[in-house]
């Protein structure tokens, strides 16, 4: 600390006089940085470019050898074709319904349990919380067989319930909201109690409106994982009309190998909601991703 306080004036004083030399060094480094970034950008972003551009290429472009990287003719045939190859509209609806239901349910469950953990007297609080954390440690793949059998035994295969039920609650949201609720100012809580606000009013009118960033993190994160699921929907659905978009992409990949443009049109459509969330919700996303890592 002392080093820094002492050094501050030194920097301001020496700053202007000695700027000429470091400037040139910085700009050389700057050029290097820009070049490195551009090279990496080409590598990392090429698959994204190929997804979108390939989806508007005709077979003459995309399936040619050597492959052309720029479309010579723009065509939307792939987008028309993909609706014939798989029930894309229906699968889009399925994915949306399943992901939105799971998101709403998980947020509600997480709000209730996080509230109970933070603001209410609870018997065996530590044991219950450990139980919630345990759910984060069990790999879903290790318990997928009995879960599959449960759905099969109850004739729930090819049913929306099978796609939703296991994910209506999750430890992650509770964990993240609990952290957020714990940093809620005690004075505000006391003031609300003095005003005669009960639990419901405090939760709905004061706590939740002030916890919107944390709620957004949970919602975005849960929606992305629900929308992107693959293994479970693959197991519990085999009728195309009940499958999600992700399984639709898999069928496209199996059936349309000779027609990559069609597959890429499907991928582009499936990407729309998640790309929007990643681009617009990045701030909230990072908060959710790093819960527990960055303090």
């Amino acid at each position: 600390m002392s080093v820094v306080t002492q050094s501050r004036p030194a920097r301001t004083a020496g700053g202007r006089a000695s700027q000429a030399r470091p400037r040139r060094r910085v700009s050389a480094g700057r050029v290097g940085r820009v070049l490195a970034l551009l090279l990496l950008a080409v590598m990392v972003l090429f698959p994204v470019y190929y997804t979108v551009v390939g989806s508007v290429m005709g077979p003459g472009d995309i399936a040619s050898s050597p492959p052309s990287l720029i479309p010579h003719v723009l065509t939307f045939d792939n987008y028309r074709g993909v609706f014939h190859a798989i029930p894309l509209g229906r699968q889009y609806f399925n994915s949306t319904l399943v992901a939105v239901t799971i998101t709403v349910a998980q947020v509600v469950c997480a709000v209730l349990s996080a509230y109970a953990f933070v603001f209410l007297a609870m018997p065996f609080r530590r044991a219950f919380f450990a139980l919630f954390m345990l759910t984060l440690m069990v790999p879903w793949e290790a318990i997928i067989i009995p879960n599959y059998l449960f759905m099969a035994e109850h004739q729930l295969r090819n049913n929306y319930l099978a796609l939703m039920l296991p994910f209506l609650a999750g430890g992650f949201g509770t964990f993240l909201l609990r952290q957020s609720f714990r940093s809620f100012p005690v004075e505000l809580r006391d003031a609300a109690t003095l005003d005669g606000a009960g639990h419901a009013r405090f939760l709905l009118q004061i706590l939740l409106p002030l916890s919107r960033p944390a709620l957004a993190s949970v919602a975005i994160f849960v929606f992305l994982s629900a929308w992107n699921q693959f293994f479970w929907p693959l197991l519990v659905t085999d009728s195309p009309k009940m499958q999600t978009l992700q399984i639709g992409l898999s069928s496209l990949n199996d059936a349309e190998q000779a027609n990559p443009g069609l597959i890429l049109a499907g991928v582009t459509m499936a990407l729309i909601p998640t790309a929007l969330l990643v681009a617009l919700g990045q701030r909230f996303l990072v908060r959710g991703l790093t819960a527990g890592a960055v303090r």
């Binding site: 820094v4 793949e141 992700q246």
Partner: protein
Amino acid sequence: MGRERLLSLALLLPSLAVFALFLFWPLVRTFRLSTTGQDLFGRANRSVGLANFKAVLHDPEFTRVLGVTAGYVLLTVLPSILLALLLALLLQHPLSGLRVLRSAFAMPFAYSVAAASVVFAALFNPAIGIANYLVTSLGFAPVDWLTKPGTALISIAITTIWMSLGYNMLVLLAGIGGVDEQLYEAARLDGAGTLRIAWSITIPMITPTLFFLVVVDTIHALQSFGQIHLLTRGGPTGHTTTLVYWIYHTAFANGASDYGTGSAQAIVLLVVVIAVTAIQFGVLERKVFYR
């Protein structure tokens, strides 16, 4: 019990009900299934003790599956984190006009495992894929990326590295953003250059973040399924069959329904995931700098 205590339990109830039905009970049932064998009708209801575990451990496939799983983890986790670290270090001070790159580099995170795998399947296509276009332009012979034992796992790993890059970079940028600005100032005054600052300040200060990523990415890698299913189906001849894909193969693929053996394999997975997590916490945490 007081009203508030009852209320607190009532609020936990929705979550607990879901956990009980789809997590805790299945966990118990996995253990029970792992000691059952199938009757003549394929129903798993015959107790066989530890026979399934014996069969799994003595299966010649088992060693290969563990090797493939370990190879896949090694090929994906560190390369992806190092590449993401390079990106994050380059992006930490947004350059004018390049701010948009941050969002662009995060885009792989928007790809589901199915979306990414399907795109990379096209890129790795031996006849019309870009990968072979590059290889042949450099004067090499075209490669059968997904169907040759030597390259199949590497191709899946490349897909996974690409997919996890956006996530890793976002997390690392958040970690770098949390480093005290005064440390940089002090270092600059001492005449430290950009590389020296990155090596001696940024990286040591974000070790907790790096550690978090190693743990999370390893667990993710151990659970990978979609990219294997879509790119190679575990082939050629088992060369990309990881633990999770082995479970799928035993219990579900091509009309298989050996739930007993599959559950024994699932418990191996459970043990491996828990062991890896414990080892990482034990070994790595001592080398991590915590504020």
